[in-house]
Symmetry: C2
Subunit: 246 residues, 2 copies
């Protein structure tokens, strides 16, 4: 972007502190599919406000980094994971959503396979939780989502984070059938049943086997690896791979 001589003169006098400015954070909804349920990574707040409550991992945006970059950093700080699928979700900026001061949060969501997630949690310090989600609405209606604690008890999340979780689930449901988001929650090789279970977790409803297989196989997004399951006590399933060409 070229600047005029006038622009340069103006900039040399510009005082960025002249207007009151909000704080800007990114918050990341890191989703994974484990043990039959869709789960989100939460961290226990170690400092006020809402100290001790569960919240989405997040961070303040640094002056020299982009938003995507800040989201990746927030995720890496909590999990060590990088190169993960991640996308901007929505920006939450209601005055009063943070009791400290005006905080505008650019929310992201990230999709991680169970393997990656478990590896990252290996020597996990306390204060992190993979909370199963309970979605009290169907379709892409939207609204807050309930995260469950260790004994299945609903958690009272910090800030408006239940709403951000809801936006992530709604987005995921919306993108499921025209975009390859489902594969992001699976390891490189997977069976069609694995894929179906992931879709069912996301949508929160059972799907018909025949129809699902036909859809997936004709979508052109699957590539047969030639391999099969090895540890089954029944007919082993073919293993597929996501075909990036489509």
């Amino acid at each position: 972007m070229t600047l005029s001589a006038e622009d340069r003169r103006f900039l040399s006098d510009y005082d960025p502190g002249a207007f009151e400015r909000p704080s800007v954070t990114v918050d990341v909804v890191c989703l994974t599919a484990v043990e039959g349920s869709l789960r989100a990574l939460l961290v226990k707040r170690a400092a006020p406000p809402h100290k001790g409550r569960w919240a989405l991992p997040g961070t303040f945006v640094q002056p020299t980094e982009g938003l995507d970059e800040a989201a990746a950093r927030a995720l890496a700080d909590k999990t060590g994971l990088s190169g993960v699928f991640s996308e901007q979700l929505y920006t939450f900026g209601a005055p009063g959503r943070d009791p400290r001061t005006r905080v505008i949060s650019v929310a992201y969501y990230a999709l991680v396979s169970a393997e990656q997630m478990l590896a990252a949690s290996a020597g996990a310090p306390a204060g992190r939780l993979l909370a199963p989600l309970e979605v009290p609405w169907s379709g892409a209606a939207g609204g807050p989502v309930v995260a469950l604690g260790l004994r299945g008890k609903p958690l009272n999340l910090a800030f408006d984070h239940a709403l951000i979780l809801g936006a992530a689930v709604a987005r995921l449901r919306g993108k499921l059938d025209y975009s390859p988001v489902g594969f992001q929650l699976l390891p490189e090789r997977f069976s069609l049943m694995d894929l179906q279970r992931v879709h069912e977790m996301i949508l929160g409803e059972p799907l018909k086997k025949g129809a699902f297989r036909k859809q997936m196989l004709t979508s052109g997004r699957l590539e047969d690896t030639g391999q099969r399951e090895s540890d089954a006590s029944h007919r082993p399933a073919k293993l597929f791979r996501f075909a990036p060409g489509a």
Copy 2:
């Protein structure tokens, strides 16, 4: 959201100026459909940076207002319009997108009928333009969009605003067939041909009449008003209304 005693103690000592904070603006893509083309409202920048260039109407977010509210205010300031359909689009925050300082912009798009737009432009001061858009990609691929000036010359927009326009067009195309966005660009009563022309402008490609009519009439989103066109030199078309029930 309840606060603990510890939170209250913490907040009384909190210094919001301790971290460097970006500026936050909203920019609004105000779209309308006039004379066969999809157009966006642009304003001529009266001050540096990029003084004299065309840009999207925008404003800094005030400490006490929500983001939606700020977007509505930015639009009202430039057009006098209120109560217009408007939705958050995407947040643009690349460092360096504004030469002044770090500026994060929450982009919105708004849809306005030609009538509303022309009424608002009635005693329009100079420095505003309804620029036709030229979309150099098909489908929802995305990328920058070219806005055309008075003699059809491509404009060199300020900041990353060509990219924001592109995001708005991509979103609109994506939502067109599962959401009532098309109606927002039309007056209260309209013919099916009017609606088809709007869809064609948005998609940038011609549609088949038969299929389009069937789709719309079976969608349940149209209500027959019982009225017909009055000023046509041929068979007058039925006038429909958007049925909010669906």
